[in-house]
Symmetry: C3
């Protein structure tokens, strides 16, 4: 396969898995009808990229310009509707594919932002938004505190992968090797996080206190 075909295949694979996993996660937590399951699957898959494109001013977003994104996302969400409750072996496979989606989205989002003229720091941020934005919107819609804010190594590998791709490119690497390096790093850290249950640092819990100042 050519470099372009590899990236395209991974992009579609990521979209499919994000939709599948997003719809399954949502229906585990909230009772949804078929509209809800399909909507949340599609939102998980394309929400991050759409947020990126809106912020970049590249509208309509890719997910509305190219039919295969919506079709793939809808397909993944429909699979989630039919299997409803995945067997354990499938659940493990989904975690792996989800990590692939995370890696590809982070790297591709960051490189797109660089290509449209953004500086490294905001480009890295947009890469991470591409990767975690869809899941965050889904969590807000089903009234969960987005898991990316509270636990687990999920945003951090995305940021590292995006940074590798952006800084590798700035250091003279060609786009494809820079993307591959970033994606492999992101995937590795994410899977190590899953395997060893790594968490981002947080303060020890403390007794709740009444708010003393008001802030909107």
């Amino acid at each position: 396969m050519s470099e372009h075909q590899i990236l395209f295949t991974l992009d579609i694979l990521g979209t499919l898995t994000f939709a599948l996993n997003g719809a399954l996660t949502a229906s585990r937590r909230v009772r949804l009808d078929i509209v809800g399951v399909l909507t949340l699957g599609v939102v998980t898959a394309v929400g991050g990229g759409m947020t990126r494109d809106v912020l970049l001013g590249d509208t309509p977003p890719d997910a509305l310009k190219h039919w295969y994104y919506l079709a793939t996302a809808l397909g993944g969400a429909a699979i989630a509707w039919f299997i409803a409750r995945p067997p354990r072996a499938l659940a493990r496979t989904i975690v792996v594919f989800d990590a692939i989606g995370l890696s590809v989205f982070a790297v591709a989002g960051a490189q797109k932002a660089v290509g449209l003229g953004l500086n490294p720091a905001p480009a890295i941020l947009l890469g991470a938004i591409t990767a975690v934005g869809g899941g965050t919107i889904r969590d807000v819609l089903i009234r969960e505190v987005p898991s990316v804010l509270t636990s687990d190594l999920y945003a951090i590998p995305a940021l590292i992968g995006a940074a590798t791709a952006v800084l590798g490119g700035a250091a003279g690497l060609a786009p494809f090797p820079a993307a591959a390096l970033g994606a492999i790093l992101c995937f590795g850290i994410r899977m190590a996080g899953v395997r060893y249950r790594l968490q981002a640092p947080s303060h020890p819990p403390r007794a709740p206190e009444p708010p003393t100042s008001r802030q909107a």
Copy 2:
């Protein structure tokens, strides 16, 4: 009335009812001050169209370009503030006008997207977003799972109405008859859904299980 005047009148009527209904729904569920009631009414009325326009890259959105949208929405929300608790007969009327708003917004949103060059599938989706987006943003703000995801025939008639308008246009119908056909279909299905308490399909409830995999 000319075709244009009919569409304009329905658009304004839909905006007014969405604001009224949105503000009433919000204040039934959460204790709000006057800023909250007005904000949520306006958000319900113009949030869907603003989302559509941002995704289409047609900024500033119509609701910020034409004074009558904000004025109408604010008027509807102010009525909600004063009546606070509508008598039963009014509640029924609101359901009918809300279905009119749903129909007009779905059809007009989809036709606008086609006019700006989108393909049929994303145009239909943007029609539905125009129709249900405002209520969804309101529900997120008052911390409800958006009802469009969990119950009732609300998104489905919007999708059918938008699809009729888009595909009717593609099949050679002039814009106004295509819009009228789509809107009447949407309105009919929505009101039938209200009358016969139709629901979109959902899986039977099951015992909650602890999450086995983590997904952001």
Copy 3:
């Protein structure tokens, strides 16, 4: 200092305090890891301005174009991570600086919208969105009903400050005096609200009733 330097200094000060206060508020209410604290601080600081820029079609938003916004916001959020629980004297100082941020953001956001050709009413609205949007997004992410909808004088001073700047400009005032007048008015009303615990009007509480009509 020149007028420009004054505005710039206040803008940076507002960004810093919004990030600090936003991150502290979020971590008081929800258990977050370091990614969550930094994200919510940055979102509080730049979310309002980014929403304004997306609605104005001025993309990428200022916060992604100029490095000092992200850097300042990240700095403020990092301070929040390290102090974690501010002493009482610091909490009071934060309230004052937060009111400065509110005032500067409302006035600057409204003037920017006017400069890009918006009419007075939507420009005033965008000023208020700049000022309260970041805190609202933060509250949605941590699953709180945005406090701006339920209590306190927060949106009202922002609207008054933005209106003063916009209408003062329309009445012939130069941009800087119009901005200064609006900001001082906003700051004064906000601080009076904090001091005397003023609330926007709301209906008296009543017994909850089951919803009688369905609205999405």
